[in-house]
């Protein structure tokens, strides 16, 4: 069974149709790269998956469980939506770290709030609470090690480089162990010499139980890391397949001209 099934997502802003029926599935452990020109709806699609936008139509299932159905969405409570969106994580182009907290606190904050809520519900004692909080800290430190920033745990975001900020943002998104981690152009806000460290971290996250969706303009990264590539144009999936299929044997004329246009800029 696919971990993610998206069926016929549509979304308009006013009379602009941004998504015109998006269908795809993703298997557990797969990395999906989404490419496409500016304005084709890539960000909007990720935002729909993360419940930051509500699609006008369509359905979405994760692990077979229906998380979104346009017909029924209005009935959901805030709390229900909050719980459902935890299946997804999102790394923003502009990091959006919390400036007033240390790197470590950025990573632990959301888990602490969730666990506090849960512990209050079961009237847990102080000792249990401390144990849980310690577990959250330990997990955060492991994640910091994963992104190679152990020594920055007590730094503040304003003391980090852009690349380091983005690696913290990745650790923060991983802290809640989402089923599917989404990245929206994670290196676009970075100086060129800093993109490498972030892409390496993302590449290193690839594993059999981590499913990722990466919107990117880095074609080499999409070719080298993705298991599946989607080329989006004008709110539809113009081409979908393995990197080899999409990059080397594109079926659609649009895809070919997009890839050729890109090549002119690769020296």
């Amino acid at each position: 069974m696919p971990i993610l099934e998206v069926e016929n997502f549509t979304k308009s802003f006013g009379d602009v149709n941004v998504l015109k029926g998006i269908d795809f599935t993703l298997e557990k452990g797969e990395v999906l790269a989404i490419i496409g020109s500016s304005g084709s709806g890539k960000t909007t699609l990720l935002r729909c998956l993360n419940f930051l936008e509500t699609p006008d139509g369509g359905r979405m299932r994760v692990n077979g469980e229906t998380l979104f159905d346009a017909e029924e969405h209005k009935k959901l409570s805030d709390k229900e939506i909050r719980m459902r969106r935890l299946h997804f994580g999102l790394v923003f182009q502009s990091f959006n770290l919390f400036p007033q907290y240390t790197v470590l606190k950025n990573i632990t904050l959301a888990s602490e709030l969730l666990e506090n809520e849960r512990l209050k519900g079961e009237n847990a004692g102080r000792e249990k609470r401390n144990r849980v909080m310690e577990g959250i800290r330990d997990h955060a430190m492991e994640l910091l090690a994963t992104v190679g920033l152990t020594e920055k745990a007590e730094s503040y975001p304003c003391q980090l480089s852009g690349g380091q900020c983005q690696r913290v943002a990745i650790a923060r998104a991983l802290a809640l162990s989402p089923d599917i981690l989404c990245f929206d152009e994670p290196t676009s806000a970075l100086d060129p010499e800093l993109t490498g460290e972030v892409l390496r971290v993302i590449r290193g996250l690839k594993s059999s139980d981590r499913t990722m969706i990466v919107v990117t303009h880095e074609m080499a990264f999409a070719k080298g890391v993705a298991d599946k590539v989607i080329y989006m144009a004008d709110g539809v999936i113009e081409e979908i397949g393995t990197p080899d299929q999409v990059f080397n044997h594109p079926q659609s004329e649009k895809t070919r001209s997009f890839l050729n246009a890109g090549q002119q800029f690769q020296f």
């Binding site: 419940f51 909050r82 994580g89 999102l90 923003f92 959006n96 919390f98 007033q100 709030l113 304003c158």
Partner: protein, 235 residues
């Protein structure tokens, strides 16, 4: 040092005691205004940003009127309107138990609180609207509730942003308390004026200025400390 012998120390003592008495009133007005108008301003600012249109326009209109008219006018209206328009002067309200100066004090206090709450609400609104949308969205995708996002993520950034304008308003408030004199609140300038009228002494006016200067130095120092405390992060 012969001029020292010319000073009438009894007079200096008398003036000092009178001014200190007035300054107690000034401080009371200052602190009570701050304590109530800072949170009330937050309520007003939520009103001006409310999704409920009638409420939003009502609060916005109110804030516009208060900010667009002189505080002096508002003081006079609040203190004299109940007596003249409804035949129920503040001084005869039961809660003041016949204490005339308390009646004037609390009347003036109400005007100050409302006026400053409106100014603070605009500062809060600017501060809240200056926070990038991405901060809210980052909280949302991490499963936080709306109130967690506001109190755990947004508020500290807003506080840092608004500290300088709040400091400005607070210093203005120190000086604005002198307006209460016009509605018979015996604050420090009222006392200085009494001395001027009764004893024909001009120097206590300068002495009064020193009170304001010293107090504002203290206020400035406290806000400087607060800003330094929050300088470890950038919004």
């Amino acid at each position: 040092m012969s001029w020292l012998y010319d000073i009438d120390w009894a007079e200096v003592w008398y003036v000092t005691v009178q001014l200190l008495n007035g300054f107690k009133m000034t401080l009371g007005l200052f602190f009570l205004t701050l304590i109530f108008s800072l949170p009330l301003g937050l309520v007003f600012s939520f009103g001006t940003m409310s999704k409920i249109k009638p409420l939003r326009y009502l609060v916005k209109g109110f804030v516009y009127i208060i900010r667009g008219t002189p505080l002096l006018l508002q003081l006079m209206i609040i203190v004299y309107l109940p007596g003249i328009a409804f035949g129920m002067p503040l001084t005869r309200w039961a809660i003041f138990g016949g204490n005339v100066s308390a009646a004037y004090f609390f009347g003036a206090l109400a005007a100050f609180i409302i006026n400053y709450a409106c100014y603070f609400s605009e500062i809060y609104r600017g501060g809240i609207e200056s926070i990038a949308k991405g901060q809210y969205e980052a909280g949302q995708v991490l499963g936080m509730t709306k109130s967690q996002i506001f109190f755990k993520v947004i508020l500290m950034q807003v506080i840092k942003n608004i500290l300088p304008p709040i400091a400005n308003e607070t210093i203005t408030l120190v000086k604005d308390t002198a307006l209460a004199r016009t509605v018979s609140v015996m604050e420090i300038l009222f006392m200085a004026n009494e001395i001027l009228m009764l004893k024909q002494l001009i120097w206590p006016l300068f002495y009064t200025g020193v009170f304001y200067l010293l107090f504002n130095a203290l206020v400035t120092w406290i806000f400087g400390k607060l800003e330094a405390k929050l300088s470890y992060y950038k919004v």
